[in-house]
């Protein structure tokens, strides 16, 4: 492999695994990170899994399009084998199905497109490394294959009081949600950002947000990013008819959404994702350290956003104002 100079900076250097079928990409990544981390490389998903079986790593960076196993397939397996590992997808082509799979099955921390900015990638990897370091203990050492993240959550933490907020102009989604949850828990419906803000303020038990990707002409990425900073335990599921890969990437990177499902919604799928989201929320609420795993890419400062969106409706501004007030 590559000669790497190990510089002891205190505790043992964290490990980074890079997976890509393109040799020169691996070479570039290695060159970039060798001074900070213990960089391993693999040319295929299979090779990566073999290496992980020998020794776990903190962060995995993988390409999507590889012969044999795709990046998302690899991540799916890593989720099961080593749930503490932070997963970053680095890909040359963003096609929508792969992107959606990346968030839903792969639960990626970031979705990075080639070509990338070295500084951004360093920041991303640094955040991922920090999260991995801080959360490895509570997600357990490398669990046995098949054990999912759910097992780490003590049963006592499932809380029937957690409520769901549905934000969509079309009331059908809220109705469906109520139907699916069978009255087990409260479901609030909002048709605008104003209403949503009011409900959030009024009901701190809201733990899951089911929302459209756009409400009116505002796209919710900034809103979700802001909400995350205020309510980091809030788990977001986006249900949308829109087929925009770029939007989904921003929802992943900045919004840190939990799941993305397409409309028309498949009720069974929605039910399973809702229960997953509820569990995730409880987990996040119970263990604040886990929030590090869902730190979003930095959005432009709120003030700038307000100026940028000054032509959009009052809803966003009011929400931001409220969010800002909550912050204080």
């Amino acid at each position: 492999m590559y000669k790497s100079t190990l510089i002891f900076l205190g505790p043992v250097m964290q490990k980074l695994l890079c997976v890509d079928d393109e040799q020169f990409i691996l070479s570039a990544l290695h060159r970039l990170f060798k001074s900070q981390y213990d960089v391993r490389v693999a040319l295929s998903g299979a090779e990566a899994l073999r290496m992980l079986a020998d020794q776990p790593v903190d962060v995995v960076i993988s390409d999507q399009r590889m012969p044999g196993m795709t990046g998302v397939e690899l991540f799916k397996q890593i989720r099961e084998l080593a749930p503490a590992t932070m997963r970053i997808l680095l890909t040359g082509y963003a096609d929508l199905p792969a992107t959606i799979e990346a968030v839903n099955s792969g639960e990626v921390f970031r979705y990075v497109t080639k070509p990338w900015s070295n500084d951004s990638l360093r920041m991303t990897v640094a955040l991922a490394m920090r999260a991995a370091l801080r959360t490895a203990p509570m997600l357990g050492p490398q669990a046995a294959p098949g054990q999912e993240i759910r097992a780490a959550v003590p049963a006592a933490l499932t809380d029937p009081e957690v409520q769901v907020l549905v934000l969509d102009r079309d009331p059908g989604l809220a109705d469906l949600t109520r139907e699916l949850l069978n009255g087990e828990r409260g479901v609030h419906a909002a048709a605008s950002l104003d209403q949503a803000a009011d409900l959030l303020e009024a009901h701190p038990q809201i733990g899951v947000l089911l929302t459209e990707a756009r409400v009116g002409s505002d796209d919710l990425v900034h809103v979700l990013a802001s909400l995350r900073s205020v309510r980091p335990a809030l788990c977001c599921i986006v249900a949308s008819r829109l087929a925009d890969a770029q939007l989904v990437i921003r929802l992943i990177n900045q919004g840190q959404i939990y799941r993305y499902i397409g409309k028309p919604v498949n009720p069974d799928k929605l039910r399973s994702e809702l229960s997953g989201a509820l569990r995730r929320h409880v987990q996040l609420r119970g263990t604040p350290t886990l929030h590090d795993r869902h730190v979003g890419e930095l959005v432009k400062p709120i003030q700038e956003s307000i100026e940028h969106n000054h032509r959009s409706g009052s809803g966003l501004r009011a929400l931001f104002a409220r969010v800002a007030s909550l912050f204080r």
Binding site: I25, R31, P67, G68, K114
Partner: protein
């Protein structure tokens, strides 16, 4: 199929059947009418001819009877001329025979003359205007008038039958001074001179004929005959009871001045209406007078001579015309309907053909776009990967250079002090050593980091990446032939390589590529189309493989053909799918995943190049598509 583009519908002409039927009816009607009229007229002609025959027959009979009468009288006068004494019994018997035979002779008599011939005096002669002058003075001697002894009717035998009875008693006649009857007198006088029958006319309302007896100049008398011509004529014109005719004998100068109906007989009912015109009128001259005979056809006459032919003609013609009209109507109506239907169908077909052409174009366009889209997806990744590491490397380069610059600056500072070493103060030298040690350790760590190796490798890799990008852009240009001629002499192996490069990203995830390309001669073709076909076959092969497999590409020259085959060990196709695989819009992919046109278009392209696209497949084993192109075109 281009017929449909310019299909001009022939006009249906709905009005034609009606027109033809009307024409047939008109013509048939006219023909029937004419046939009827012909027969009718022929019949009428026949009737008239028959009528004329009857008329002339009557006329002939009348003439015959007249002649007979004349002959009888001449016979009698001949007897008298022969010396028979009119007073003799023999003569009387002859006369009575004649009278019996000829009812029109009312009476026969003899007018005798005195023995002495009358003296013709000048006074009688008008011509002797010369008067002897000598004798003018003396009173002329009294003219010795030819006052013979008055003729006397010495014999009169009356016909006891028929109108002879009108004669009444002959005594009346005996007493008549025949000399008093001027016409008779004149006639007598003339006949004495000429011995011809001079007189025939009415005397006392009776027709009279005087026939001289004797030689001219030696007349003995006149045979006197009283005739009733109407009797003669009546007998002449009498008809048969069955002949169905009405006969009228008219005396145009009757006693009252107007036409007098003398005789009428009718056998049958008169005809009605305009058939009453079927009659003839003819003149019969007898005894110096004209009589009019009118013959009119009555029902029996007409019925006996009429056939049903005109009616048959009428009915037959009418029926035939009607049948013909209906027949022609039906045929032309059907033909018009058919034409209408054809026109409608043609219009529908034209429309459908146009829609089909449009949708075919749209589908081909969308297939092109979708295959283009597929290509772009793969190509985008192919481009972004080299860009990724090149970009990262250059960013790193800048950082590393940023680190090197201060080192180089320091190096310069340190070394630039060396020429002035001797002039340095010891504490300066001390500082210099310290700086030099620091520089040394900085350089050491740079060395230990392997910075120069890094610089070497990152520039080398970046340049290699740039080469790759250049090649990719060139391949794209080659593949699409954007800046080259559409038709060219091309080595197809180049097409294969180009297409493999373009689709590298799509294939690498699904299959290992095995190439077995033998040298190929250049052939004349449209390389961008061939590339399209190859791309289609390669992507199909990749899709057919479920997890990971092998894609084999062969190129050969065999039997005056270039053969390129693309083989995969994917799912394969069962015979049902295999038989339809080149069908337009047929696809085994889900909705929205494929247009189903790729292979149809590929086949069309290969066929346009004069070649063939063949397929072999076995389910579970794989498929092989072979392009065969002839060497000489």
């Amino acid at each position: 199929m281009t017929r449909f583009e310019n299909a001009q519908p022939r006009p249906a002409r709905i009005w034609l059947p009606w027109l033809l039927a009307l024409i047939i009816l008109a013509v048939g009607g006219a023909g029937t009418f004419m046939a009827w009229r012909y027969f009718h007229q022929t019949e009428q002609q026949g009737l008239r001819t028959a009528l004329a025959e009857h008329t002339s027959a009557s006329q002939n009979r009348a003439n015959a009877f007249l002649a007979l009468t004349g002959d009888s009288v001449n016979a009698l006068s001949g007897m008298l001329n022969a010396g028979l004494d009119p007073q003799s019994e023999v003569f009387r018997r002859y006369v009575q025979q004649v009278l019996r035979r000829q009812p029109e002779l009312m009476a026969v008599g003899f007018v005798s003359l005195p023995a002495t011939p009358p003296v013709v005096t000048p006074a009688v002669s008008d011509e002797s205007a010369e008067v002897d002058q000598e004798h003018a003075q003396e009173p002329p001697p009294p003219p010795v008038t030819a006052s013979p002894a008055e003729p006397a009717l010495t014999l009169l035998l009356v016909n006891e039958q028929g109108p002879g009875t009108a004669m009444g008693d002959g005594a009346r006649w005996r007493g008549i001074d025949l000399g008093e009857l001027q016409p008779l007198k004149n006639a007598l006088a003339r006949s004495q001179l000429t011995s011809t029958v001079e007189y025939s006319g009415l005397v006392e309302g009776q027709w009279t004929q005087l026939t001289p007896v004797g030689e001219p100049g030696a007349l003995r008398g006149h045979l006197l005959a009283f005739l009733a011509p109407q009797v003669l004529l009546q007998n002449a014109v009498v008809g048969q009871p069955q002949d169905g005719l009405r006969r009228q004998l008219v005396d145009p100068t009757g006693s009252s001045g107007g036409p007098r109906l003398l005789y009428e007989e009718a056998h049958g009912q008169p005809l009605g209406g305009d058939a009453a015109q079927l009659s003839t009128q003819t003149d019969i001259s007898a005894l110096g007078q004209r009589w009019t005979l009118q013959l009119a056809a009555l029902q029996p006459f007409v019925q006996a001579r009429s056939t049903a032919l005109p009616q048959y003609a009428l009915i037959g013609g009418g029926v035939l015309t009607a049948i013909l009209a209906v027949f022609v109507f039906m045929i032309s109506a059907r033909s018009a309907r058919v034409q209408q239907l054809v026109n409608r169908r043609t219009a529908e077909l034209s429309e459908a053909y146009q829609r089909l052409r449009d949708s075919e174009m749209m589908a081909m366009q969308s297939e092109k776009m979708s295959s283009l889209g597929q290509m772009v997806a793969g190509v985008a990744h192919e481009i972004n990967t080299p860009l990724g590491f090149i970009s990262s490397n250059v960013q790193l380069l800048r950082e590393l250079l940023g680190r090197l610059r201060p080192l180089m600056d320091n190096q310069y500072k340190l070394l630039s002090a060396v020429p002035h070493w001797t002039r340095l103060a010891p504490e300066q030298k001390q500082l210099w050593f310290k700086a030099a040690l620091q520089q040394g350790s900085a350089l050491k760590s740079v060395r230990e980091e392997g910075l120069s190796d890094d610089l070497e490798s990152l520039t080398g890799e970046s340049l290699s990446g740039l080469e790759r990008l250049t090649d990719l852009v060139l391949t794209l240009k080659n593949f699409s032939r954007l800046d080259r001629a559409m038709i060219d002499e091309v080595d197809l192996n180049t097409c294969i390589e180009d297409t493999l490069k373009i689709s590298h990203n799509v294939i690498k995830q699904k299959a290992d590529v095995v190439k077995d390309l033998q040298p190929l001669p250049k052939i004349r073709c449209n390389p961008s189309q061939i590339n399209q076909v190859l791309l289609n076959l390669i992507t199909n092969a990749a899709h057919a493989i479920d997890r990971f497999g092998t894609l084999e590409i062969l190129s050969r020259v065999e039997a005056q053909e270039i053969r390129i085959s693309v083989r995969d060990n994917g799912r394969g196709m069962d015979p049902g799918v295999l038989s339809r695989i080149f069908e337009p819009f047929f696809t085994t992919k889900g909705q929205g995943e494929g247009t189903g046109l790729g292979l149809a278009i590929s086949q069309k392209i290969v066929e346009e190049h004069g070649g063939q696209l063949e397929v072999q497949s076995e389910p579970g084993v794989g498929s092989r598509f072979t392009i065969r192109l002839p060497l000489n075109r």
